[in-house]
C-alpha cells in the first residue's frame, strides 16, 4: 500500500515536472508560414520568428519535416554580385533575443518535396534545440506573402 502511495506521489511529481517544463519553454515560435510554390517545385521555403525567452543562448541543432527529404537553414546573401545561399548549421539565438526568417534573408530550406503542398494546408516542422527542447510547429501554406 505504502509502495503504491509512493509510486503515485513520484508519478505526480514527475507529471508536475513535465508540465512545468512545457509551460517554461525557453523557445517560442510565431508567424510560421510557407509561400505556396509551383507544384513542380521540389524545394520550398519556410519563414517564422523564433524567440529565445531564456537567459542563455540557444542553438538550433536540427530541423526536419515528414513532407520533405530534409530541412536546412540558409541565409540569402549578396556576394560578388550574386545572391548566394549560405547554410547556417547550429544557428544561434541569443539570450532574450529572436531570429526573424523572412523572404530574402534567413529561411528554412525545405528540400525534396515528398507530397503535394497547397495553399491552405500546413507543413509540419520539428525543431530541436541544444537546450534539450524539441518543438513541432505547422507552417501555414499561403499565397499571400506575410511580411509581419
Amino acid at each position: 500500500m505504502l509502495l503504491i502511495k509512493l509510486f503515485t506521489r513520484v508519478f505526480f511529481v514527475l507529471a508536475l515536472c513535465i508540465g512545468t517544463a512545457n509551460a517554461d519553454s525557453a523557445i517560442k515560435i510565431e508567424n510560421a508560414w510557407s509561400p505556396e510554390a509551383p507544384p513542380v517545385a521540389k524545394v520550398l521555403a519556410g519563414y517564422m520568428t523564433i524567440h529565445n525567452l531564456s537567459d542563455k543562448d540557444i542553438k538550433i541543432n536540427n530541423v526536419k519535416s515528414s513532407l520533405f527529404e530534409r530541412v536546412e537553414i540558409h541565409i540569402t546573401e549578396m556576394k560578388n554580385g550574386m545572391m548566394k545561399m549560405v547554410r547556417q548549421d547550429n544557428l544561434n539565438i541569443k539570450a532574450k533575443g529572436h531570429i526573424l526568417l523572412k523572404p530574402g534573408g534567413l529561411h528554412m530550406m525545405l528540400i525534396g518535396k515528398l507530397k503535394p503542398v497547397k495553399a491552405g494546408s500546413t507543413i509540419p516542422l520539428t525543431l530541436s534545440f541544444d537546450n534539450g527542447e524539441t518543438k513541432t510547429i505547422n507552417l501555414k501554406v499561403t499565397t499571400v506573402p506575410n511580411h509581419k
Binding site: 510554390a37 513542380v40 524545394v43 540569402t76 554580385g81 550574386m82 545561399m85 530574402g104 530550406m109 525534396g112
Partner: protein, 227 residues
C-alpha cells in the same frame, strides 16, 4: 564706454551680420539656380525620380540562341516589338526566385494594358540551371505565377552570351556528386528591362517592390515610347 558708444557698436555689428547674411543668401540662391539649370539639361535625356537604374545609352542584346518552354526559339528577335522583363534564376530556388516572380505577378496584375495591346510587356524567366530545368518543368513553374510568363534556357555557352552582355553572374555550389538536390545556384537577382528594340534599358535591383516596379516601368515606357 558711454552708453551711446555701446549702442553704436551694437549697430555696426548688426549691420555686419546683415551684410554677411545677404551675401550667404545670394550664394545659396546662385548655387540652387545653377543646380536647377544643370538638372534641366539632364531632364531631357533621362526619366527622373526612379528606383531603377536607367542606362544612359541603351545596349543592344545580340547573338544568343536559347529556347523557350515550348521549344520555340529565344533569340534577340523575341525581344523585339515589346518591352520585356528578364529575370535569371532556377526552379530549385526556394527564396529569391519565387519572391521575385511573386513580385512580378503583382506587377502584371497592376498593368494598365492587356495582352496584345500596345505597351504590354513580356516576362522571360531565364533558367541558368539547364541540367535540372527542362522545358516542361520550366513551363509549369513560371506559368504558376502568371499564364503570360515565359521561361527560357539553353546551352551554357549560349546562356553566357546573354548573361555576359547584361552583366548577370551565376555559378554553382557543390555541383559534383550527381544528386539533383545536392547543389545550389548562385545568381544575380537584378530584373532587367529591355526596350521594344531589344536593347537593355534599365536595371532593377533587389529588394523588389511591386508598386515601385509598376510605376517605374510606366515612367520609362512613357519617356521612351513603345516603339
Amino acid at each position: 564706454m558711454s552708453s551711446e558708444a555701446q549702442s553704436k557698436n551694437k549697430n555696426s555689428v548688426s549691420q555686419l551680420i546683415l551684410i554677411i547674411s545677404l551675401g550667404l543668401l545670394g550664394l545659396v540662391i546662385g548655387f540652387w539656380l545653377s543646380l536647377q539649370l544643370l538638372n534641366d539639361g539632364n531632364d531631357q535625356k533621362m526619366p527622373q525620380n526612379l528606383e531603377a537604374t536607367v542606362l544612359p545609352d541603351a545596349r543592344a542584346l545580340v547573338g544568343f540562341n536559347l529556347s523557350d518552354h515550348d521549344g520555340g526559339p529565344f533569340t534577340p528577335q523575341q525581344l523585339q516589338g515589346q518591352w520585356s522583363f528578364l529575370f535569371f534564376g532556377f526552379t530549385h530556388c526556394p527564396d529569391v526566385c519565387p519572391t521575385a516572380l511573386k513580385v512580378m505577378q503583382s506587377v502584371w496584375k497592376a498593368l494598365p494594358t492587356k495582352k496584345g495591346e500596345t505597351g504590354h510587356p513580356k516576362l522571360f524567366f531565364v533558367s541558368v540551371d539547364p541540367d535540372r530545368d527542362k522545358p516542361a518543368t520550366l513551363k509549369q513553374y513560371v506559368q504558376y505565377f502568371h499564364p503570360e510568363f515565359n521561361a527560357v534556357t539553353g546551352r551554357l555557352d549560349e546562356l553566357d552570351k546573354l548573361t555576359n552582355q547584361i552583366g548577370i553572374l551565376y555559378g554553382y555550389d557543390d555541383k559534383d556528386d550527381g544528386n539533383d538536390l545536392e547543389y545550389t545556384v548562385n545568381h544575380s537577382a537584378q530584373i532587367i528591362l529591355v526596350d521594344p528594340l531589344g536593347r537593355m534599358r534599365a536595371v532593377i535591383s533587389p529588394p523588389h517592390v511591386p508598386e515601385t516596379i509598376s510605376s517605374n516601368f510606366q515612367t520609362i515606357r512613357t519617356f521612351y515610347g513603345d516603339e
